[in-house]
Amino acid sequence: MTDRDDSVAPRDSVAPHDSVAAGCPSEELLLSYVRGALCLQERERVVVHTSGCEACRRTVAGLLHSSSRSSSTGEKRRPPMRRPSVRTLEAGERIADRYVIVRLIAQGGMGVVYEADDSLLGEPVALKTIANLETIGVRRFKREAQLARQVTHPSVCRVFDVGQHQYPSGDSFYFISMELLSGETLRHWLVQPTRPTESAVIGLALQMAQGLAAAHQAGVVHRDFKCSNVLLDEERAVIADFGLARHHAEPNELTVSGTVLGTPGYLAPEQLAGEAVTAATDVYAFGVVFFRMLTGLFPSEAVGSLLTISDQLAKHSEWTPLLSRCLARAPNDRFKDAGELVKAMQTIAASSGSRRVFPRRQALSRSMRSMPVVLAGAAAVALTLAVWSHRQSLATEITRFTPVVAGTMPVTPLPTLRLLPPMSSVKLPAMVPMVPATMSVAKRWHRRENANAAVAPQPKRPLSLPPSKPTLSRSRHPSDNGTVDPFPPRE
């Protein structure tokens, strides 16, 4: 539709609800347009049409309005975000007579993080101010700092101090000083063009599990463990932002009951249901992160699409029982806490002997370094023998769908679906699928399609291995990354 005649046509000559006869774009086209997921040509088509057709344009506007709200299903609206009560701090500003702001690092829903110099100790630190303290509460903020201070582990971001800065005007704000980390988040690392090797993924995952284990041992539940809360400093994975952490022995008095804290996609079923959050909730979130690291997908993206799940996990069959246990729907079916999880991971890592699963020496956590790895592996085997027998029943179920290569399709999708609750029972805020994340999903789709097409004639290779990617055996070769591997694969 280009001009006057066309733009008038749908209004006068067409029945009020007949969108197809009016040449209006399909529902799916409009949805993709609103999500910003259309190619240029299709987008032009929609733009030209909506510049004339009022009903379609208003529909687009309606969808846009709702996508900026919490829910498109018309359920209770989230109260509007409060304006940050703390103005952005300028470089050079002196905070609490001790910290000098260097630069702003990141700004998120929970607060603003700055790089600052601790003038007392002459060391760089990270300062986190809380944007909307009224909603979180001073008490909770202080408790967060208190709890996080109890955890000292190389894979957990260290918290030094909590302070209050007072302006001459009388206004004040609270902040936490933390260990300053360089490097990118795991989320960014995962979307890099080349897929990380399995050994790198498992090395990092193990560190994260150990970090969580240390927190759980101190009685701290993270509650919002996710890819963007993990920072990769050199080859060390550091869990940051215990922003929603809560001491799990305490009654849940500071969070309004029924409100869900956390990030959609990582939320365990009990979190969605507003039930008690335990260490097993973090285990679930870890499962989501680990699944993403291995496959590039959220488990929720893969559920229902049996080809995807079996495709993706075929390469990592030794981790499938562990993942399915992490992602179990009932908290009791998961590992009790991250400590148990670490043991199980180490067992699997040790038993899949041909692969190098431990990170490089300098990236190992302190506790790991102090102990010969072989001994650790042996001890872990002994410790988890009991766990193993318990898991046997689970494992036999899983094996039914694990040996998936092109040519053999799973006979029944039952075990795959057991990983997660059925989608129909999970009520995510409807805004979630509306965000442009669909674009990246589409890109991945494209990639996977190509991979499948390229691999299909050779039935014995895993379905989703793109021909250009280095295989595991190649990437383990020292000459590949140009550095000599100080930790050769254990055969």
């Binding site: 280009t2 006057r4 733009s7 209004r11 006068d12 009020p16 609800h17 007949d18 969108s19 197809v20 399909s26 529902e27 799916e28 409009l30 949805l31 347009y33 609103v34 910003g36 987008r43 032009e44 733009v47 030209v48 909506t50 510049s51 004339g52 009022e54 009903a55 379609c56 344009r57 208003r58 529909t59 687009v60 506007a61 309606g62 969808l63 846009l64 309005h65 498109s72 299903t73 018309g74 993206e301 229902g304 699409s305 049996l306 080809l307 995807t308 092109a406 053999t408 399709m409 006979v411 999708p413 679906l417 059925p422 989608m423 129909s424 699928p433 509306m434 442009p436 399609e449 499948n452």
Partner: protein
């Protein structure tokens, strides 16, 4: 044989499967659908034909890996008039309809009318339009677009019939706080109106769409930017230049159509410039483009 039905309906695209595999996958898909919607009775052949029809430009592998196959199953059952499916659709999906259309018209009567129209259109046919849902996104999102569009069409239709009844009486939405303005209103109203309409039509499609989205529908610049994959400031520039262009074209139109001297024209333009800021939204809404 499910695979035979499926293959017969989607041509030669399935060469990447062996027959035995395809059979197993399709059987699983059907079982998956029936498990998620236990009460629904759907003929396997119907579902296979439906699946094959939804291929579009996708490969069978893409389609079969879609995470919305359970929604597709439900839609297919609705298209085949399964009572349980229709009931589920009404109870679970159409329940949100009043909230969706509240923005268009908050009255319960309107919501009822929209519901009636949507149901008629989607479930009755022939053929029932719910069959056009291809499973590329969630069924609820798809339904929301159908609902919104229907609602806007209905409200447009109602407004138009009301307007037709009582002639065109609305004033040009230019406020008249001083004699000069009121004179301009009365003297040149029709000319300004038609000049504005023509100027709007001459705008490039994107400029026109963005101006309306922004000024009439109140969509903010961030959201428009997101849709077009550009920054807010870029959208802001687009809006500014579109507005300038609109005003410029309008002036050219008026210069050609009004038979007045240069001084008078200037004063009209000055007024237009200042008024346009205030009333662009109202103008765009009331003047057909």
């Amino acid at each position: 044989m499910l695979s035979a039905v499926f293959q017969a309906n989607c041509g030669l695209k399935v060469h990447s499967f062996s027959i035995a595999d395809l059979e197993a996958v399709l059987t699983d898909l059907f079982a998956h659908g029936s498990r998620i919607h236990p009460g629904i009775r759907l003929d396997r052949g119907h579902f296979m034909r439906h699946l094959a029809a939804q291929l579009g430009e996708r490969s069978p592998r893409q389609l079969l890996a879609s995470p919305h196959l359970a929604d597709l199953f439900l839609a297919c059952a609705c298209a085949h008039h399964d009572a349980a499916a229709v009931q589920l659709f009404r109870e679970k999906y159409l329940a949100h309809l009043p909230a969706w259309v509240r923005r268009v018209d908050a009255s319960p009567a309107f919501a009822d009318e929209v519901r009636q129209t949507v149901m008629e259109r989607l479930l009755v046919g022939p053929p029932p339009r719910i069959g056009q849902y291809t499973g590329r996104g969630e069924l609820s999102h798809w339904l929301r677009v159908v609902t919104l569009r229907t609602a806007y069409r209905l409200s447009q239709h109602q407004r138009r019939s009301r307007e037709a009844e009582r002639e065109w009486k609305t004033e040009m939405p230019l406020p008249a706080s001083n004699p000069e303005k009121s004179r301009m209103r009365s003297d040149y109203r029709e000319q300004v109106r038609s000049a504005f309409a023509r100027a709007q039509r001459q705008l490039p499609a994107r400029a026109r769409q963005i101006l309306r989205l922004h000024f009439v529908d109140g969509v903010n610049l961030d959201q428009i930017g997101k849709v077009h994959g550009v920054n807010r400031s870029t959208v802001s520039r687009w809006v500014a230049s579109a507005r300038t262009e609109l005003l410029q074209t309008m002036q050219d139109q008026l210069r050609a159509s009004l038979n007045v001297d240069a001084g008078e024209l200037d004063s009209i333009f000055r007024l237009l410039g200042s008024q346009l800021e205030i009333s662009l939204g109202t103008l765009m809404e009331s003047v057909a483009g």
